[in-house]
């Protein structure tokens, strides 16, 4: 059974429909990508999965309907959401931000292991433990947001545009981190406008356009698809 499953999900803001009949599955241990242009409804979809938006249809995480539980409970149960805005705590240090990620966990030994893992994954964060989040560069903030999400010991990690606005060399760092997480067997739902990045990491992908899933398949299938190549990947 998929760990995360969307069936015929509709979301609307007043008269405009943001998502229409979206169905999507994520199996344990998979990296699933969702690509599509700005305004296609990608963030709306993640907000709905994380319990922040009302929807019709069905979204289940680990067999539980998301609308019947709370966003806080979902985080506790391992569904962790790393937003596009990052939503860091600006006046907390790097370390305090990471501590917040683990605030609901009581096993101190396991939390310490998470700290070691995150600091090892992002040595830049280790060097800047006592620096306030607001004073860091965009790339460092993205690493911190990812680190904070990992501190929650996720079973499924949802990433919204982790490469947005970052320099290529920083994207490489994020890439490397994702590869390590993949090796660890973490399940990831990766939402990206940057199709090249998504195609590199995801095993399966969905194309979301104007609120509907227009196409889905493995990374290889989508890479060879004419429409995807012309509209999203370009001639690089």
């Amino acid at each position: 059974m998929p760990v995360l499953q969307l069936e015929d999900v509709d979301v609307s803001y007043g008269k405009t429909q943001a998502l229409r009949n979206v169905s999507l599955e994520v199996e344990e241990g998979e990296i699933v990508g969702v690509i599509g242009p700005n305004g296609a409804g990608k963030t709306t979809m993640l907000d709905s999965i994380a319990g922040y938006k009302e929807y019709s249809g069905s979204i289940t995480y680990d067999g539980t309907e998301v609308s019947e539980t709370s966003s806080g409970k979902l985080v506790n149960d391992g569904l962790v959401y790393c937003t596009e805005d990052r939503d860091l705590f600006p006046y907390f240090t790097v370390h305090e931000n990471l501590q917040m990620g683990a605030q609901f966990r009581s096993d101190d030994g396991a939390v310490q292991e998470s700290f070691d893992f995150v600091y090892d994954l992002f040595p830049r964060l280790d060097e800047r433990r006592d620096q306030e989040a607001q004073t860091m560069s965009g790339g460092e903030q993205q690493m911190l947001a990812l680190g904070r999400a990992l501190m929650s010991d996720p079973d499924v990690l949802m990433l919204d545009e982790p490469t947005l606005g970052l320099a290529p060399v920083i994207i490489d760092d994020i890439s490397e981190a994702l590869e390590r997480l993949q090796d660890e067997g973490l399940t990831i739902l990766l939402v990206e406008q940057n199709s090249t990045f998504a195609l590199r990491h995801a095993e399966r992908l969905y194309l979301l356009e104007q609120g509907s899933i227009e196409l889905s398949g493995t990374a290889d299938e989508l890479r060879d698809d004419d429409y995807i190549r012309d509209a999203y990947v370009g001639v690089t």
């Binding site: 805005d85 605030q103 999400a149």
Partner: protein, 293 residues
């Protein structure tokens, strides 16, 4: 002369400690929930009256418990009242700034009328412990010294709570980014409830020490509310450190004014200070602008 200066400094230090207790709760509620709680003064008044009812023979003759019982009762009762204020009123209107503003003002005024009705309008003396001691030529009442110590113990405990525990850190985190707090699994509703409880406990404590100083009266909330407001603006809205610094600044300015000009002008320089900060440094001493969006 030296004696007078020493007295002024000591008096200012003692009164500032009480102001700090009042300002911290006010700033926390603003920082975490974005609520300007104008009934904060009513809460500290409640603390002083609860103490009077529980301890003083001249209010309820049949209740003359030990002052320690009275202090604990004052803290606990006001913490509960503060939580009720949030759960029964503020929670339902907090999204609308104007309604929150008006309803908490109305509550404060209603509390005055209620106390006039029950206890009358006159000033009622309450006391913690009699006696005084000499400190650098100044006379310090025992209750003032206790108030100072209690204030710093409370501040230290609060500081430990919000910087060293996950539970307390979640309160600060919520004041910086509510969305961020939600993403890390913080229960925002619980955080708000805890904040109101803490603010109430501190207000109750501060209110009692104000009562020991100048007695109970149905309008005793007005002046401290102004002090809390100014302290918070001066210190930087939402900053606990700033509210303590602001409270001390106001305490000292007030005391210097009383010494040099006279008691009638007590509040004026701090109002000028308020205007100055609003015009030239609206983010305050420890300003983080408006951390709460």
């Amino acid at each position: 002369m030296i004696g007078a200066i020493a007295t002024a400094i000591i008096q200012a230090t003692l009164v500032s400690a009480v102001y700090a207790l009042i300002a911290i709760g006010f700033t926390m509620i603003f920082g975490v929930a974005g609520v300007l709680n104008l009934a904060h003064g009513a809460l500290l008044m409640a603390g002083a009256y609860v103490y009077g009812i529980v301890v003083m023979r001249n209010i309820v003759p049949s209740m003359t418990y030990h002052p320690a019982v009275g202090v604990i009762a004052g803290i606990v009762v006001v913490a509960i009242l503060s939580l009720l204020l949030y759960e029964l009123l503020v929670r339902w209107v907090e999204d609308n700034v104007v309604i929150t503003f008006l309803s908490t003002v109305i509550l404060a005024v209603a509390s005055t009328e209620f106390l006039v009705w029950i206890f009358g309008g006159q000033n009622i003396r309450i006391s913690l412990i009699e006696g005084q001691f000499a400190l650098a030529n100044a006379r310090v009442a025992y209750y003032e010294a206790i108030g100072f110590a209690v204030s710093w113990i409370a501040i230290a405990l609060l500081w430990f709570y919000v910087t060293q525990t996950d539970d307390g850190r979640s309160i600060l985190a919520t004041s910086m980014s509510e969305r961020g707090a939600q993403l890390t699994g913080v229960n925002i509703r619980m955080v708000r409830a805890k904040t109101w409880i803490i603010a109430g406990a501190l207000a109750g404590l501060g209110g009692m020490f104000l009562g020991f100083d100048s007695g109970l009266s149905p309008l005793m909330w007005l002046n401290p509310l102004a002090v809390a407001f100014i302290a918070v603006v001066v210190g930087g809205i939402g900053s606990i450190k700033g509210s303590v610094a602001g409270a001390y600044l106001i305490g000292f300015i007030e005391q210097i004014t009383v010494e040099l000009i006279g008691n009638g002008f007590r509040g004026m320089p701090t109002l000028i200070l308020l205007v100055g900060f609003l015009l030239f440094m609206p983010q305050g001493l420890f300003g983080r602008e408006f951390a709460h969006e």
